[in-house]
C-alpha cells in the first residue's frame, strides 16, 4: 500500500479492471492458437513485470519456467496422436502435432498464471468486496473483519510465544515442543475471545444489525474509466467476431488446421495483441508523461 508509483491500471474503477481480467482470461482459454497464446503470455508477462517489479517477477518466473518446460516436454512424450511423425523415442513416435500442442498448452497455462499474479496485485480485497459486497453485505463484512483479524492474531501469537518463554524453558524435544505450542495456542484463543467481546460491543454500540447496511467505498466511475472501458470493449468485440468466424483457433489432432486464414486472421492477431498490451501501454504512458514533466521543470 505504501508504494506510491504511478499506477494507471490500479486506479481504474474496480468494475473496469475486473471486466478486463475476465475478458483476457476468457479469450486466453477460448483461443487455443500458438500466436494468441504467445501474445497473451507476452502481454501478461510485461504487465506483471511492470506492476510487481523485477524481484517479484523473477520469483514468479522461477516457478513458471519449470512448469512451462514440464508441459512442453511431457505432452509429446505421452501423447502420440498426430500425423506428422518426426522420430522414434523408446519405441514411440514423437509427432510434430504433439510438440506444438504441448507448447501452446504450456503458453496458455503460464499466461493464465501470469494474469493471476497481476489480478492479485490490482484487485485488492477492498475492490473485490466493493464488487461483490452488494450481493451479500454480511459476508462482505465478515471477510473484511477477517482480513483485519489475521495480522493481529499473528502479532499476538509471536508476543505470547516470547512471554511464555519466561515461564517455560524452550524444549527441543518434539513432545515438549508440541505441549508448549498447545499451551500458547490456548492463551491465544482465550485472549482472542476476550477481545471479540469488545469488538461485538463496539459493533452494537455503532448500530450494527439494526438495518440492512450499505457498503461504503471510495471508488468513482469517471471519464477515464469510460474511455478505457470503451476501448477495451471495441478490441474485445473485434476479437469476439473473429473467434466466431473461426480465426485465432486451431485443431491439432489428428492433423493441424490452418493457423492463418488470410487478412482477417492477421487483423485479429493485431487487435488481440493490442488488447493484451493495453494495461502495460497505459502504465507506460503514465511514466512517459511524468518523465516529460521532469524534463520541463
Amino acid at each position: 500500500m505504501s508504494d506510491m508509483r504511478m499506477r494507471y491500471f490500479n486506479n481504474l474503477h474496480p468494475a473496469v479492471s475486473m471486466s478486463y481480467f475476465i475478458t483476457v482470461l476468457a479469450f486466453t482459454l477460448a483461443c487455443f492458437h500458438p500466436v494468441m497464446a504467445g501474445l497473451s503470455l507476452m502481454g501478461s508477462a510485461a504487465f506483471s513485470f511492470r506492476l510487481r517489479g523485477k524481484k517479484a517477477f523473477f520469483a514468479t518466473l522461477r516457478f513458471i519456467a519449470p512448469m512451462f518446460l514440464f508441459i512442453a516436454i511431457a505432452n509429446p512424450l505421452f501423447n502420440h496422436r498426430g500425423v506428422t511423425m518426426l522420430f522414434l523415442l523408446f519405441d514411440q513416435w514423437i509427432t510434430l502435432e504433439a510438440i506444438l500442442y504441448g507448447l501452446v498448452s504450456a503458453c496458455t497455462l503460464c499466461a493464465i498464471v501470469m494474469w493471476f499474479t497481476c489480478y492479485q496485485e490490482v484487485m485488492t480485497s477492498d475492490k473485490f468486496l466493493y464488487l461483490f459486497g452488494k450481493l451479500a453485505p454480511a459476508t462482505a463484512l465478515l471477510i473484511t473483519m477477517t482480513l483485519r483479524f489475521v495480522p493481529e492474531l499473528k502479532q499476538n501469537a509471536r508476543e505470547i510465544r516470547n512471554a511464555q518463554k519466561m515461564l517455560r524453558n524452550e524444549d527441543t524435544r518434539l513432545f515438549q515442543k508440541l505441549g508448549t505450542a498447545m499451551r500458547n495456542l490456548s492463551v491465544l484463543l482465550t485472549m482472542s475471545m476476550e477481545s471479540a467481546v469488545g469488538t461485538a460491543d463496539s459493533m452494537k454500540a455503532r448500530g450494527y444489525g439494526e438495518k440492512r447496511r450499505t457498503t461504503f467505498h471510495l471508488f468513482r466511475f469517471d471519464g477515464r474509466d469510460t474511455r478505457v472501458l470503451a476501448l477495451m470493449l471495441t478490441l474485445a468485440g473485434i476479437c469476439f467476431a473473429g473467434r466466431i468466424y473461426g480465426h485465432g483457433y486451431m485443431e491439432f489432432y489428428p492433423a493441424m488446421t490452418a493457423a492463418v486464414m488470410g487478412t482477417p486472421s492477421v487483423t485479429m492477431f493485431v487487435v488481440f495483441g493490442l488488447l493484451m498490451a493495453l494495461p502495460t501501454f497505459l502504465e507506460a504512458k503514465e511514466t512517459v508523461i511524468w518523465r516529460s514533466y521532469g524534463l520541463k521543470s
Binding site: 500500500m1 480485497s125 477492498d126 463484512l141 473484511t144 473483519m145 482480513l147 483485519r148 495480522p151 493481529e152 502479532q155 499476538n156 508476543e159 505470547i160 516470547n162 512471554a163 511464555q164 518463554k165 519466561m166 515461564l167 499451551r183 490456548s186 492463551v187 482465550t190 485472549m191 476476550e194 477481545s195 471479540a196 467481546v197 469488545g198 469488538t199 460491543d201 463496539s202 459493533m203 452494537k204 454500540a205 455503532r206 448500530g207 450494527y208 444489525g209 439494526e210 438495518k211 440492512r212 447496511r213 450499505t214 457498503t215 461504503f216 467505498h217 471510495l218
Partner: protein
C-alpha cells in the same frame, strides 16, 4: 431539560453480594463536559454502560436512566446508536474493519445511509481529526494512539449528542493520551457534544472539565466544579483514594492551606510566588538525595549494543550501554520510538543485537513482564496460575500469594482482575520461576493512583529482598517518586543517568509537575511531598 439523567440507579451483577452501582443520581446538560473519577472497581464502567442502550449489562436493576427525559429503553434503536457514542478502553478490539476509511464509515453503513452522504461525513471527520495522511492505511499499521483516535472519529461520524468514553487513555502512552484528551476537549468545545468521561490522569482533564463527579463503591461521593472538588477532597485529604490522583498543584496547595487551588502548572507557579512572597527562602535549599546502592558488579549489563530489525532498516539501538545493580529499582524514561521496548527484548534475549554484548551475573535469571501481562496466564483461576509456576507445590504458591497480596483473589479468573492485580499476579508467576532480575514494560499503564502506589511499594519491597528491577516507563511522576536511579533514552542511546533528584533537576521540560512549579525556588524537589516540606520549612 437534561440531556441524560440517572435517577436513583442501582445495579447488581448476578451472584454479586454488593451493588456495583448504588442509588446513583446525576444529570448532564447539553454540551457539558463531565469527568467521572474514582478508584478502579468502583462501578464507573457499569455506570457508563447504563447510559448506552446497546451495552446495558444484565443483572438486578432499580431506578432509571433518561435520555432527553425519555427512558433509555424506549429510544428508537438506530437513533440511540447515533445519538449516544461510546468509546471503550482497548484501542485494538474496537476496530472492526481493515482500512481506516472503512472504519470511519462503519457506523454510517449501519445506519444505511447512501454512499455519497457517508463519503461527505467521513471526509469531514478525517479533516477535523487531521487524519488525511493515514486515511488509506490499513488499521493494523497504526499506533495505539492513532487507533483510539479512529475509534473516536468513527463514533463522532454518526454525530452523537452525548459522547461517553470509558478510560479511553488507559492503554496509551502519555503523549498519545494527551493528544486524545485534547481532541475530546476540542470536540466538546467546537462541536458542542456533551462528554462523559472516566479518566485516571486527572491533571489532564481537571482544567478542561465543567464538572467532576467522584464515585466510590458505587455511590456518588461528591460532584461539582473542579475547584470545589479539589477543595472538598483537600479538606479530607488522604481519606479518599482519589486524592492521590489529583494534580500535583492541587495537592501541594491544599496541604499548604491555600484559599484558591491552582489547577495548572502556570497557576501553581503564580500561587507559589504569592505564598513565598513574605517568607525567606533558605539560600541553598537543602539538597535531597536518595542513598545510592553500593556499586558492585552489575547483575545485568549491556555493552555497546547495536540493533536493527532488518538488514536494510534503521538502527534502533546505537551503541547502547546500560547496567543494573543488585537490589535497585531503575527507571528508563524516553519518548516513543526511542527503542526502550526493543532494549528490554535485547536484554532478555528475545531479540539478538548484531553487535555488542548482554551479560548477566552468573545464576541471575532475567525475566521480562510483557506489556500485556495476560499473555502469561494459562488457567482459569488465580490459584491455578500460581500452581502452574510452583510445580503444584501448594505451600509455595500460598506463600507467594501472601507475599503479593493475592490471597483474597485465589478463586477469581485471571481475566477478571483489575489492572494492578493483573500485574501482581504476573510478577508472582515470574518470581515463582526464580526470577532475580525483572524487566517491566510500562507497568503503570492504566493504573489509578492508588494501584500505582501499591505496585511501587511492592516493587520496592522486592528490591529489598534482592530482586533487581528495570522499569521502562513514560510515567515521570512514578520514576521521580520511586526509582533509585533514572536513565533517559533517546535515539537508541542512553543520554543521561543519575539518582532521580539530580536527574530531574538537570532536565528543564522532562520533569514532574511538582518540580515545574517549584524549580525556581527548590530545583531539587521533585515530588509534591518534598515541595510541601520545603515550603513549610520557610518562615
Amino acid at each position: 431539560m437534561a440531556l441524560v439523567r440517572f435517577e436513583e440507579l442501582s445495579f447488581a451483577y448476578p451472584h454479586a453480594r454488593q451493588r456495583a452501582v448504588d442509588r446513583f443520581s446525576l444529570s448532564i446538560e447539553e454540551g457539558e463536559y463531565v469527568v467521572l473519577s474514582g478508584p478502579s472497581g468502583c462501578g464507573k464502567t457499569t455506570l457508563l454502560r447504563h447510559a448506552k442502550p446497546e451495552l446495558i449489562p444484565a443483572g438486578a436493576r432499580e431506578g432509571a436512566v433518561y435520555f432527553e427525559e425519555k427512558p433509555l429503553g424506549e429510544l428508537e434503536p438506530l437513533a440511540a446508536a447515533a445519538d449516544i457514542g461510546f468509546v471503550q478502553q482497548d484501542p485494538d478490539n474496537q476496530i472492526v474493519t481493515d482500512f481506516v476509511w472503512h472504519e470511519l464509515a462503519f457506523g454510517l453503513e449501519n445506519l444505511a445511509l447512501p454512499v455519497p452522504v457517508i463519503r461527505r461525513r467521513v471526509a469531514e471527520m478525517a479533516a477535523f481529526f487531521g487524519m488525511e495522511p493515514w486515511f488509506r492505511k490499513r488499521t493494523v499499521e497504526l499506533s495505539g494512539g492513532q487507533k483510539q483516535l479512529i475509534n473516536l472519529a468513527s463514533v463522532l461520524a454518526m454525530s452523537p449528542r452525548l459522547l461517553i468514553l470509558d478510560e479511553p487513555t488507559a492503554m496509551l502512552d502519555p503523549l498519545a493520551a494527551r493528544n486524545l484528551l485534547d481532541t475530546v476537549r476540542r470536540v466538546n468545545r467546537e462541536l458542542g457534544v456533551a462528554v462523559l468521561l472516566t479518566e485516571h490522569r486527572l491533571e489532564q482533564v481537571f482544567p478542561a472539565a465543567d464538572r467532576v463527579v467522584i464515585m466510590e463503591r458505587g455511590r456518588l461521593l461528591s460532584c461539582g466544579a473542579p475547584q470545589e472538588i479539589a477543595r472538598t477532597l483537600g479538606t479530607q485529604m488522604g481519606q479518599s483514594r482519589v486524592w492521590l490522583g489529583l494534580p500535583a498543584t492541587v495537592r501541594i496547595f491544599a496541604q499548604l492551606g491555600a484559599e484558591r487551588l491552582p489547577l495548572t502548572v502556570r497557576d501553581g507557579r503564580m500561587a507559589l510566588k504569592g505564598y513565598l512572597r513574605d517568607k525567606t527562602v533558605p539560600a541553598q535549599a537543602e539538597s535531597i538525595k536518595k542513598a545510592r546502592p553500593i556499586k558492585q558488579k552489575p547483575v545485568l549489563s549491556a555493552h555497546e549494543l547495536w540493533f536493527r530489525y532488518g538488514e536494510t532498516e534503521r538502527d534502533v539501538l546505537r551503541g547502547l550501554d546500560i547496567s543494573l545493580y543488585k537490589g535497585e529499582l531503575m527507571c528508563l524514561l524516553g519518548g516513543n520510538g526511542a527503542g526502550k521496548s526493543t532494549l528490554l527484548q535485547a536484554l532478555v534475549g528475545t531479540q539478538k543485537p548484531y553487535r555488542g554484548k548482554v551479560s548477566a551475573l552468573k545464576g541471575e535469571k532475567v525475566c521480562m513482564l510483557p506489556q500485556n501481562a495476560k499473555m502469561l496466564f494459562v488457567t482459569d483461576t488465580v490459584k491455578g496460575e500460581l500452581l502452574d509456576c510452583a510445580e503444584d507445590d501448594e505451600a509455595k504458591a500460598a506463600d507467594m500469594a501472601d507475599r503479593l497480596e493475592l490471597t483474597a483473589l485465589l478463586a477469581r479468573h485471571p481475566y477478571d482482575l483489575s489492572g494492578g492485580e493483573t500485574e501482581r499476579l504476573a510478577i508472582a508467576k515470574l518470581l515463582l520461576r526464580d526470577a532475580d532480575v525483572l524487566l517491566l514494560d510500562e507497568p503503570t499503564k492504566g493504573l489509578d493512583a492508588s494501584a500505582k502506589q501499591s505496585l511501587a511499594e511492592l516493587l520496592q519491597s522486592l528490591c529489598r529482598d534482592g530482586v533487581s528491577i528495570l522499569v521502562v516507563t513514560h510515567d515521570v511522576e512514578f520514576a521521580a517518586r520511586y526509582a533509585d536511579r533514572c536513565a533517559l533514552m533517546f535515539d537508541g542511546e542512553i543520554l543521561s543517568e543519575d539518582e532521580p533528584h539530580a536527574f530531574f533537576a538537570e532536565n528543564r521540560f522532562y520533569t514532574t509537575d511538582a518540580n515545574r512549579v517549584a524549580r525556581e525556588y527548590f530545583p531539587n524537589a521533585i515530588t509534591s511531598e518534598e515541595v510541601i516540606a520545603l515550603c513549610e520549612s520557610c518562615s
